[in-house]
Each structure stands twice: as C-alpha cells, then as structure tokens.
C-alpha cells in the first residue's frame, strides 16, 4: 500500500504505514531531516511544517491525513521569497543558540508573514507561542521577525 504526498512542490509516493505520524515519514522514509522531533505530543513546535500554507505540527497526525494537501518543510521554504527573507533575517539576527527549535520557528515565521506582512510584537509572540526555545533565543527570534517584515 502506498500514499501520494505533495511535499515541497513535488509529488512523492511513500510506503510507510498510513498510521505513521507525518514527521517520521519525512525524516525516516523521505530523508528530510530538517523537521525535528522534540516531544511527539504537539507541545513544542520543533516538528512544525506548512500544510496548505498553515503551520501544523507533524509529530502526531497520521501521514494518511495529509494526502492531497500541500506540505512545505523547512527544506522547501527557500522556494518562496518570504521563506528566503525569513531565513536571511534569522541569520542576520543570530536568532538561534543550539538551533534545535530553529527549523520550526523559521516555518512559523514564514507562515506568519504570509498572513500578516507587518506583525507587531504581540502578534509575533502569539504566533510563536506554540514553539519552545530552551536556550532563550526568543528576543533574537522576535528581532528576526522585525527584520524580515521590514520593521527593524
């Protein structure tokens, strides 16, 4: 049995058990290792991907539920101007310490900016609240949001 997924603009066929959470299919079968497992409980945001343009956690929902939907992982973000701008802003702001949360945050900020071109501080915090960072890089991530949205 196989499933068809659209990932980063490409059609991919996967053979994993349809009950497998999307994250494991991305990392283990498709070798897209950018999305991270932090909790497996949808509590930390390390596994965030874009699904039809919206941020979703990929660590719990079965891969079968993503069939026919447009998935973008951190590896595919650079295909859009917004994604590139966000990535550059993270680099400019040194918006990481260990970097394990970074992929999920870059995904979330890209989604935020595609919905709200100039989010204020409160909107940025609200959008990023599902994402944990344990090193305390938050101020730099918020700065990256400002840079990427031309508010710096």
């Amino acid at each position: 049995m196989s499933l068809k997924l659209r990932i980063n603009g490409e059609d991919r066929t996967v053979v994993s058990d349809p009950e497998t959470p999307l994250l494991y299919v991305l990392r283990d079968e498709l070798k897209l290792k950018g999305s991270k497992l932090g909790c497996g409980l949808e509590q930390c945001g390390a596994c965030a991907v874009l699904v039809d343009g919206k941020v979703e956690m990929s660590c719990v929902s079965p891969v079968a539920t993503f069939e026919g939907r447009d998935i973008v992982t951190v590896e595919g973000l650079a295909a859009t101007e917004t994604g590139q701008r966000v990535q550059a802003a993270f680099v400019e702001a040194n918006a990481a310490q260990c970097g394990y949360c970074t992929a999920g945050l870059v995904v979330a900020v890209s989604s935020l900016l595609s919905e709200n071109e100039t989010p204020d501080r409160a909107a940025a915090k609200a959008a990023l609240d599902p994402h944990l960072c344990r090193c305390g890089a938050h101020p730099r991530v918020l700065r990256a949001v400002e840079i990427a949205s031309g508010q710096a």
Binding site: D17, D28, L32, L41, Q43, V91, G99, T102, R134, L142
Partner: protein, 703 residues
C-alpha cells in the same frame, strides 16, 4: 588545566585540507563556544572564518579538557588557543625573517597576508604555515593581539540551521543503522517481573531485536516509527514489581541540617573535618529560600549512536564530558578505555548534565548485543522529563546582624540540598558506572549511590554561597543531603542560582526594611571597582527608564563564583489580579573581561536570564509514590514566547583583562531581581521558587 596538560602548539592547531584546524576539547552545547574559539584564533592570526575549521571533538584525537561546564571554556580552551596562535604568529614572523631577510618585526601580518622587506606581493599565511612545524611549545608570554572587533564572526552553523540542512546527532542515518528505544519502569524503585505472553518472541520474529538485561529492556529495528510502536506494545506487556514506590513526603521539610553531611566552608571551599562554626549571636535578620527539583528540559530528547565491531566500541554522543564518560562506559562493560572511542556531535542545548551520558551507555549496550550494526538510540519526551538527572531541590538559610549604622556586621549562610555531582566520573566502588542510569537496572546492577560532597572551591552547593560583600564576621556551612528521593546532577549554575537568589533577596529585604536605597546599600558593602562600575551603569540606565504605573522594579548583583563575570540585573514587572507575574523588561549590565564574541556573549547572558525567568515563574518537578507526574510540557510548563520580556544587555568591555565565561553569570541575579520586583509591586516576599500564581496567592493569604 588545558595548557598545562597540552603545552604544544600542535596540541591546539593543525593544518589540514588547506585550512587552519582548531583542536579543542570543548563542545558546542548551544553556547556557541566554537564560534568564540574560531574568533580568538582568527583575531590572533588575522584569518577569515572560512580559513579556519574546528576538528570534531573525539577521545581519539582531541585535547582532554575535562567537562564543557562551569562557564570555563573561554578561560581554559580560549586562553590556550589564544597563546598557541600568538606563539605561532611570532614563529611565522621569525621564520620569514630567517628565510627572506629583515628582522622579525619588519614583517607584518594583516588579513591573512604577510608583507616584509623586499616582498613584491604579500605572502599568504596559510601557505607559509605549511613550511612550519607546529610541534613547538606554546609560549605563555607570547604577545597577544590587541583587543578589537573580530571581522565577520558569524555564528557557526546558522546558515545551515535555517535551511534545515544542519545535522544534529538525532539526524544520523548510517547504512544498516537500527533505531532503538528503551522501555522504562514506572519509577526508579520498580523492577521488571515479566513480559506477559509471547510478545517479545513475536517481535523478534518480525525482525526486531530485544535486549533484556535484568530490568533494562530495549528494542531496536530498522525503521523509527515501528520501533516506537513496538516499544509501546512492550511497555503495555510489562509487569513491574513496584517496591515501596518513590519517597513522596514534603521535600523541603527533609532539607535539614539533621539529614545532611555538614562541612564548614572557608573562602568558598569546604574544609574536611573542621568544626562547624557556632551560630552567630544577636542576628537581626534571618530567612530561608528554597528551590524545587528542576529539569534541564532539553528540547531534544537525549540520543546516541553506537557501533561495536567485536573489538572497538565507537559512540557518537552529545555528552558534555566525553573522557569521563568513556572511562565509565569502559568500566561498565569491562573494556579497556582505549577500545571505547567517543566523538561529539551536537544535540540540543543541555544546560548541564542531562540524560546524554545515559543515552550513550544505553546505545552501547544495544550495540554490544547487535554487533557490526550502528544503533541510534533515542529517548522519548516523557522519559527525558521523568528520568533525566534533575537539578537538586535545595534550600539556603541566611542570617545577618545589622548594626545601628545600617551596615552588615555579621553574616551566615548555609546551603542545604542534594548533590549536583551526578556525572559518571570514575572512582572507588564503581562510582562512575553507578551514575549511568541503565546500570541501576541491569541484572548485575550498580548504583544508585548516596551523594558525596564536592569539595572544590565554589563547587556544588557552595557555589556563590559566600557573598561578594565586605562583612566583618561570617560563617558558611555546606549541608549535603546524601539521600534524595530523585536522581540529581549538575544543572546550569549549580548552587549559584539559589545562593545568589537568597543573598540578593536578603540584601533587598534588609534594605527595604531600613528604607535604604538598594544600590546604596549594596555599594556600602562593596570594594571592587568593577562591581561599582556595573552598579553605577545599571543605576544610570534605570534613571532614564521610568517605571510604568503599577509595576514593580527589582535589582540584584553578583559575580559568578566571586571570580568570573559580574552581572547587575534589573527587572520590571507587574503582578496581575490573578496573581500572575508579567515580565516587562530585563536589563543586564555585565563585565565579562575582554570581549571575544560580543554577540555570542550577549546571547549567553540573555539566554541565562530567560532560563532564570522560566525557573522563577514556572519550573518544578512533581511526583508521587507511583512515579514522576511532570512528564510533558503541560505538566512541566516553561517560559514561552508570550511570557518573554524585552531584554537589553549592556557589556562593559575590559580590553586589558582576561576573557571570562558568562553562560551562568546572569541566572542568579535575574532570579533575585524578579523576586525583589514582585515585592516592590505587591509587598509580597516570595522565598520559594517557582513564584506561581498559586504560590503568590497563598503568600497574600498569609499576610
């Protein structure tokens, strides 16, 4: 220690692949140390970042610099590398003078190029380096380059991180590799009675490998999710003998002198067999401050990869101390240490001794059971929360005698708590193996063992127990409670977090009671000019930042280990009607000596401040007889984006002083500044962490 043990330039620097290779024993655990080390070498030799690389840190080839901990890396590895590079620069200039004429000081080095008498065009440093034997002693008096900004010092790895192409240990994917998980008992006292039915053999028929050694149970297989499912099924089929369960009485009432090994502390150091000094007579003030068991809470569950080829055990780990871990794994398995090779690969930030070492040993056990096969073993979130070695619950009791002139005449501090010494350091009675979690459960079990006191200056519980203030009469006592209900080890700052919290809250309480200005009260007891400069700058910055209506402001000051980075902190916050703390702004003024990586230094101080904010407002391990109950990020809440205040860091550069580590300098002052601000806003004095709305509400009811 670093330069004494590795005194030659070739111990620290090598030329390979057309780049200058930095050799260090210190590892990147989220603190960006490799960026700073590259910056030091870059500055001394005027190279560009792309011309320098950092060799993987491995027990096979790297200098043994002990642990990457205690904010020591800049002082140890950084100092050694600075002198090695400065020695090399002098050698290069002398070499060119010999070869091409002129005096050594006729030659100049700039932007990685050398010019001298009669050179038509500059010589490339990396080319000249190839002519030089780096096997020469590091000159401890080598002239180091003048302080100044390092060109193009960007965070190593960041461009790859934002694209998702950076590789963590967790991302390893080796040919023939198996994924592995451990099935944990309900709690530390439980033992595996049996696995019901024939599930284990059925799983083995399906191609899974199952390892059972006493109560240590693990499963491995070729794909990650099926292994997760198999582990869940196995867990459901396990019958455990639960024993007496975990001790679940009130931990703070167990933190007493009666339950402790007591040691007098002199000049920051415990003294063996010295009598405990008498209590201070006529004290005017007395208070006790407390902290619960606290998680490291690494964002990534711990992991390791191991392969056993019948002769050598190769382990990839995100451990902070690959040498001591190698020795304890070798001892546990009866292998000679040289047959065990550990290589570092980044995991997530760890903030102290997380479960990284436990995972490395567990991967090794599976690798020995399934030879010639790489085993990538990962912990799961619930296990990381339930089984990592926590920062110990502790209490600090302070007392003082304040004279009629408002000065402190006498001061006493006693630290009481469990051990921070949970790292697998080898020693008598299998002390190293006893600290590896799996050894507690194997059929030939070792450990856990009661805590033994750390006797080092500003080690363990006594870190920053001695205030930085000038007080005529003092007494200090360390009280190690050797038996604690939960396993504990080193957590960022060790005792300094609670001790600075205690001392700086206490200073605030006394000043407040006397109506004294908190800056003036501290200054009256300080002699250190650099401390004064930090406080002066903090005060003048605050003068320019009026406090919002209804908000409270608190300050605190400390110098890490009374010898490292100085930090003055202020916090502005409000306490809502629901007794919840809303942090508005944190301001840090810091003196970390000569600045190497300005942005990296600021990031470490900010990160420490925000981790402290998380400790202050949220973090506490919970448990009952049946096991740990804080097993995820809902039951163990931490600071999220919505709770993050504005934060400013002001760095006072000291170009003529040595560079100091700063990763643990800000948490203590920020903890105290938060409590002092809560008191300023509400009049409530919170002396136990975390300051949750429930805690503040009960304090208000006691008033």
């Amino acid at each position: 220690m670093s330069l004494e043990d590795y005194p030659r330039v070739s111990d620290w620097l090598a030329l390979a692949d057309g780049k200058l290779q930095v050799r260090t024993g210190k590892v990147d655990i989220g603190q960006r140390i490799s960026t700073a080390l590259v910056g030091i070498v870059q500055h001394e030799l005027t190279l560009w970042p792309a011309e320098i690389d950092v060799q993987p840190v491995s027990t096979k080839s790297s200098p043994d610099e002990g642990m990457t901990s205690g904010s020591n890396s800049i002082e140890q590895s950084g100092h050694a590398l600075r002198l090695a590079a400065a020695t090399l620069r002098a050698k290069i200039l002398a070499h060119l003078s010999d070869r091409l004429g002129g005096e050594a000081n006729d030659w100049t080095l700039d932007a990685g190029e050398l010019t001298g008498p009669g050179t038509n065009r500059p010589l490339v440093l990396l080319h000249v380096l190839a002519e030089i034997d780096l096997d020469m002693p590091v000159d401890p008096d080598a002239r180091i380059a003048e302080a100044g900004a390092v060109k193009g010092l960007d965070m190593r790895g960041l461009p790859e991180l934002v694209k998702g192409s950076y590789r963590f240990l967790h991302d390893l994917d080796l040919p023939g590799m198996l994924h592995a998980l451990v099935i944990r008992p309900p709690h530390a006292k439980a033992r595996l009675a049996e696995i019901q039915g024939d599930l284990a053999s059925k799983l083995e028929e399906d191609g899974f490998h199952i390892l059972r050694d006493g109560s240590f149970l693990a499963v491995a297989g070729p794909q990650e999710w099926p292994v997760v499912r198999a582990a869940q099924r196995l867990a459901n089929a396990c019958d455990w003998d639960l024993g007496d369960g975990l001790g679940d009485g009130d931990i703070f009432s167990a933190l007493t002198q009666e339950n402790a090994i007591r040691l007098t502390v002199e000049d920051g150091k415990p003294v063996k067999d010295a009598p405990i000094p008498q209590d201070l007579p006529d004290t005017t003030h007395r208070a006790r401050y407390e902290r619960p068991f606290t998680m490291h809470g690494a964002l990534a569950p711990s992991a390791a990869c191991a392969t056993w080829d019948g002769e050598t055990l190769e382990i990839t780990t995100h451990s902070q101390g690959i040498y001591i871990l190698r020795d304890s794994i070798a001892e546990s398995l009866g292998l000679p240490p040289e047959k065990v090779v550990l290589t570092f690969m980044p995991g997530s930030g760890c903030y102290g001794h997380s479960a990284a070492d436990d995972a490395a040993f567990e991967a090794a056990l599976l690798a020995m059971a399934v030879p010639n096969t790489p085993i990538l073993l990962k912990w799961i979130r619930e296990d990381e929360h339930a089984w990592e070695p926590y920062g110990p619950a502790s209490a600090t009791e302070v007392a003082a005698k304040v004279g009629t002139d408002g000065r402190l005449q006498a001061f006493s501090a006693e630290a009481i708590g469990g051990t921070f010494r949970g790292r697998p350091r080898t020693g008598p009675n299998q002390a190293g193996p006893a600290k590896l979690l799996a050894n507690h459960f194997r059929s030939n079990s070792v450990g856990p063992q009661p805590g033994a006191p750390n006797m080092n200056r500003h080690g363990g519980l006594q870190r920053n127990l001695v205030p930085i203030y000038d007080i005529p009469e003092t007494r200090f006592v360390k009280n190690l409670v050797p038996e604690m209900p939960l396993r504990t080890s080193a957590l960022r700052c060790l005792g300094a977090a609670l001790n600075v919290f205690a001392i700086e809250c206490f200073m605030d309480e006394i000043a407040r009671e006397r109506g004294a200005d908190p800056f003036a009260f501290r200054r009256a007891h300080l002699k250190d000019g650099r401390a004064m400069a930090v406080l002066d700058r903090l005060e003048s910055e605050l003068d320019a930042r009026p406090l919002a209506e209804g908000a409270g402001r608190g300050i605190a000051y400390a110098q890490y280990k009374n010898a490292m980075t100085r930090v003055g902190a202020s916090v502005d916050l409000t306490v809502t009607d629901a007794a919840e703390i809303e942090l508005h702004r944190i301001l840090l003024v810091a003196d970390a000596g000569r600045i190497v990586d300005r942005d990296g230094l600021a990031a470490q101080l900010e990160g420490g401040a925000l981790q402290a904010a998380s400790w202050a407002l949220h973090e506490a391990v919970t448990w009952d007889r049946d096991g740990i109950t804080s097993r995820d990020w809902d039951s163990y809440p931490v600071l999220r984006f919505s709770g993050v205040p504005e934060i400013d860091v002001i760095l006072l550069d000291q170009p003529e002083s040595k560079s100091l580590g700063a990763g643990e300098a800000s948490p203590g002052p920020v903890l105290a500044a938060i409590a002092n601000a809560v008191c300023d806003a509400t009049g409530l004095r919170a002396r136990r962490l975390p300051m949750t709305s429930d805690a503040l509400t009960s304090l208000a009811l006691q008033e």
